[in-house]
């Protein structure tokens, strides 16, 4: 499906990896949520401005009190930063682990070779409760014993996240954000429990 015919021969297109598919899926879900929220606000009488938010690029809304409102920044957690390996150490770690797994298990063991990441992953996907459900229904972790220091790193990261989330919860005023933070805390706690089980 080449539009610039010259470029096609230079690069061969490979299908996206599981991680990339997950990122794409999460991004799509986020976009859907943003459009739904924006539609709701438009129906409530908000005005759709011609400007976009400097942080996330979403179209800005303005309410009757002439206050500018960005749906994504103020209602949804930003998802992009968490999954970008360049910005977040955890994402980098999980991507590295994925590559490790992919090279280690040549035979497709089980239908979900990426079931290992579900343990640290849920808190990265926005809407932590949704991610938690996916992880809960996922298959049990594979037989490959995890690296000990990776587990401790993950635990530290989880505790850090837990602390951060509780701080945020204390200062949060939006209902939506509070619910999501509670979900995040719950997910972190469950992840910690699973990690402890893995260690023993």
């Amino acid at each position: 499906m080449a539009l610039n015919g010259a470029e096609v021969d230079d690069f061969s297109w490979e299908p996206p990896t599981e991680a990339e598919t997950k990122v794409l899926q999460a991004r799509r879900e986020r976009q859907d949520r943003i459009s739904r929220l924006m539609g709701d606000y438009l129906l409530r009488g908000y005005r759709m401005l011609g400007d976009t938010c400097a942080d996330c690029g979403t179209i800005l809304l303005q309410d009757k009190q002439r206050k500018i409102y960005c749906v994504a920044c103020q209602e949804l957690d930003s998802d992009v930063d968490k999954d970008n390996p360049a910005l977040n150490a955890q994402a980098a770690l999980s991507q590295a682990r994925e590559h490790q797994l992919a090279s280690a298990t040549e035979i497709p063991s089980g239908s979900r070779p990426t079931s290992q990441p579900p343990v640290p992953r849920p808190e990265h996907c926005e809407g932590a409760a949704a991610g938690l459900k996916a992880a809960a229904q996922g298959p049990p972790p594979p037989a490959v014993p995890p690296n000990a220091d990776v587990v401790s790193c993950t635990q530290t990261a989880l505790l850090q996240k837990l602390t951060w989330a509780s701080a945020e919860l204390g200062s949060s005023t939006s209902l939506e954000t509070s619910i999501q933070l509670c979900g995040l805390i719950r997910a972190c706690a469950d992840a910690l429990c699973t990690l402890k089980q893995l260690q023993h």
Binding site: M1, A2, L3, N4, E7, D10, F11, W13, Q31, D32, I34, S35, R36, M38, G39, D40, L42, L43, R44, G45, Y46, R47, M48, L49, G50, D51, T52, G57, T58, I59, K64
Partner: protein, 710 residues
């Protein structure tokens, strides 16, 4: 501040709008509650109304809504489908450009943006080519064999059947009007249609109704919807200034100026030197007025319609001579009356040049009408045009419902107007493969000895001459007679037995061939019956097809293809200009049929093409599926979208019948117009390179074009 990436911006906007309209699309959609910035609340299912009520300052959003509004003004249908289809197209385009841009990630942003712009322009060109060539070709060659006709008799003497019109209108109204009211509104509209239209030219009448719908309906609040009715003649929204009852036919005069002469007219001076001059001028004026009114009385004029307020002297004389007077009528109402009665304004010789009095006309009756404590004038007009004047009184508990029904009815008339227009298609046929693919199919399908009425290819079996076969194939594909034959087998499918055509109320002026009831057998509406069900009524249609064969060789709309195709294996013809048409009255069953058919044929076409034609066809084919997906979302199990899709594709690939589970028809012309409007809107979006925001509207003397585009 400039923003780059018009596709991304448009996609965000379109997704937000889609999130709104997808809640109320289709028969299972709900109502949407919208709070306007002024604080008013709007509860509606009408897509156009909702979009216009939103407060949008984003330039791309305004452009999209403007495109939707102009589409609605023409066709009266499809605002929500427009947005959904546009959104899917933009998503597809975004996916394409993202995929391509992921290949070249190391190029700088500006260069990538420039590359993207070139890409989009390229795609815009490809879309235009698609619209002008491929779409028409596919409509003519592949889709036309699936069309049904809403008329139930051959071209010359086409008779519109009430039950098919009801199916069409029910499908239209159930997406626009509340669920408890749509059947009633359908019946009301059918009654109105059959009362107003003569069998001569529906187009003229429909045009008149569409243009003057505001004057032809009166809205009353505070009464239940079931009180809505149709009244003969015209109801004027004014009350009598003077009412003198008169029996029988009365003469009417329309005036557009004050009858009493004024002291001075514009651009002239009136110089008075003394009191006596003033007195004598005044006296002259009074005498003049009296003379004019006496003149009117001598011509037995009993009704005076005036577009301005007449002075008391005129009213006094009118009362003396027993003349009824209605004042302050709008110019639209007066021009409607003139159009219906065939008035032509002229001035009487004795009357001074100040006053313009048109010729007199006869009206059947004129009486006051009281509707819910408001007084109106009820005029019975004698029509000289194709339109028999009737008025719709729409009742509703609140003003919102009345307005909703009014808009829905107006849209329905626009839709009918589109339906009864011939749609001309023109395309360039490129190479042999395209052309031959149609003829081998025709010979392959003559399996059964009895021709399947729905397949026009089988009719070709009857012809001996191969040369003629292919020519007739082209002719038959776009002729009315075949589609009528299809409908004749279609209509009997709707009933368990065929009754005689007596359907009618006494004031249905159109002949109707098909039976009265239109119960749907088990909720299934079969497009064409199979041979197994031995319904005796089908014998007749089949015979009629054989007879009509002779007719279709000559008559009917011809595909003006200059083809010289002696046999199947001649050398290729490179390209010829073909023009054809979709005849008036072509319909398809509802439920996404048009979209799935077009999707299937586009996919097949894309497989045989290369480069950008294939890409565009795939893009549009995939986007088309978005509409039936949303329509089938509430359904589960065997009727869910994937099941329905698989079944349809299977049926199409084996040339079998597509079974529909929904009764209802929709206009093919409307769908085609929608497709072309969306593609035009998309092309406009793609040609935007840069959006520049200005804080203030530019001055009027500046160039308006520099606001949004580079």
């Amino acid at each position: 501040m400039a923003a780059q990436g018009s596709v991304k911006a448009a996609l965000q906007v379109a997704e937000a709008l889609e999130a709104i309209v997808s809640r109320c699309v289709g028969p299972d959609g709900g109502q949407v509650l919208c709070t306007k910035p002024t604080g008013e609340v709007l509860l509606s299912r009408d897509g156009g109304r909702l979009l216009e009520a939103l407060h949008l300052e984003h330039p791309v959003a305004r452009m999209i809504v403007a495109c939707v509004s102009s589409h609605l003004k023409k066709t009266g249908d499809g605002a929500k489908t427009f947005i959904i289809f546009l959104c899917h197209l933009l998503r597809g385009l975004d996916a394409i450009t993202e995929k391509d841009s992921s290949i070249s990630e190391n190029i700088q942003t500006y260069e990538r943006h420039w590359k993207n712009c070139c890409q989009w322009k390229f795609i815009a060109q490809a879309l235009l080519t698609f619209q002008t060539q491929i779409l028409d070709y596919i409509m003519d060659h592949y889709l036309s064999r699936h069309f049904l006709s809403i008329f139930s008799s051959p071209a010359k003497d086409r008779a519109l059947c009430r039950s098919s019109l009801e199916l069409l209108l029910e499908a239209y109204f159930c997406g626009r009007v509340g669920r408890n009211n749509y059947k009633f509104i359908t019946q009301l509209m059918c009654d109105y249609f059959f009362k107003c239209m003569t069998s001569k030219s529906e187009m003229e009448a429909l045009e008149l109704v569409d243009n003057s719908f505001v004057e032809l309906n009166i809205g009353i609040t505070g009464l239940p919807v079931s009180d809505s009715r149709i009244m003969d003649g015209l109801v004027l929204s004014r009350d009598f200034s003077v009412y003198c009852p008169a029996d029988g036919a009365i003469r009417m005069v329309i005036v557009r100026e004050i009858i009493q002469p004024l002291f001075s007219t514009s651009r002239s001076e009136f110089i008075l030197n003394s009191e006596t001059q003033f007195q004598s001028s005044h006296f002259w004026i009074m005498e003049r007025t009296k003379a004019i009114m006496k003149h009117l009385h001598s011509h037995d004029v009993k009704l005076l319609l005036s577009s301005v307020k007449q002075p008391d002297l005129v009213i006094y004389h009118a009362r003396l001579s027993g003349m009824s007077v209605v004042e302050c009528l709008s110019s639209e109402e007066l021009s409607l009356i003139q159009r219906i009665t065939g008035f032509s304004p002229c001035s009487l010789p004795q009357v001074s040049s100040l006053c313009e009095i048109s010729s007199t006309a006869l009206v059947k009756f004129c009486k006051p009408l009281i509707l819910r404590s408001k007084r109106y004038v009820h005029l019975g007009l004698m029509s000289t045009s194709a339109f028999i004047p009737h008025c719709v009184i729409l009742c509703g508990p609140v003003i919102g419902i009345v307005e909703q029904h009014e808009r829905a009815l107006h849209g329905a008339f626009k839709m009918l107007r589109q339906l009864f227009t011939h749609l001309s298609l023109s395309y360039i046929m490129q190479n042999k493969d395209q052309y031959d693919s149609s003829s081998p199919k025709s010979s392959r399908e003559n399996s059964s000895q009895l021709p399947d009425p729905g397949k026009c290819q089988d009719i070709i079996v009857k012809n001996r001459d191969k040369l003629e076969k292919n020519q007739i194939h082209l002719k038959v594909l776009s002729s009315l007679a075949v589609s009528d034959a299809q409908l004749r087998t279609y209509i009997p499918c709707l009933t368990s037995k065929m009754t005689t055509a007596d359907t009618l109320q006494t004031d249905e002026t159109l002949r109707c061939l098909s039976p009265e009831k239109h119960e749907v057998i088990d909720g299934h509406v079969l497009l064409v019956e199979t041979n197994s069900t031995g319904n005796s009524t089908r014998e007749n249609p089949r015979l009629e097809i054989d007879e009509n064969l002779e007719v279709t060789k000559i008559a009917g709309k011809r595909c003006l293809c200059t083809v010289r195709h002696q046999s199947m294996d001649t050398t290729c013809i490179t390209s010829q200009d073909c023009s054809s048409s979709v005849p008036a009255g072509c319909v398809l069953p509802v439920g996404g049929n048009f979209e799935i058919l077009l999707h299937y044929y586009l996919l097949n076409y894309a497989k045989s093409q290369h480069s950008e034609k294939s890409m565009v066809s795939m893009l549009i084919a995939n986007a088309l599926l978005g509409i039936p997906k949303i329509l089938y979302k509430p359904k589960k199990g065997n009727y869910s979208f994937p099941q329905m899709y698989l079944r349809s594709l299977q049926a199409l690939s084996t040339n079998q019948l597509m079974i529909n589970h929904q009764a209802g028809l929709e206009s093919v012309t409307g769908k085609y117009q929608l497709l072309t409007s969306v593609l035009a809107c998309l092309t406009k979006i793609l040609t935007i390179d840069l959006i520049i925001h200005v804080k203030r509207q530019p001055q009027k003397n500046c160039d308006q074009d520099s606001e949004d585009e580079l």
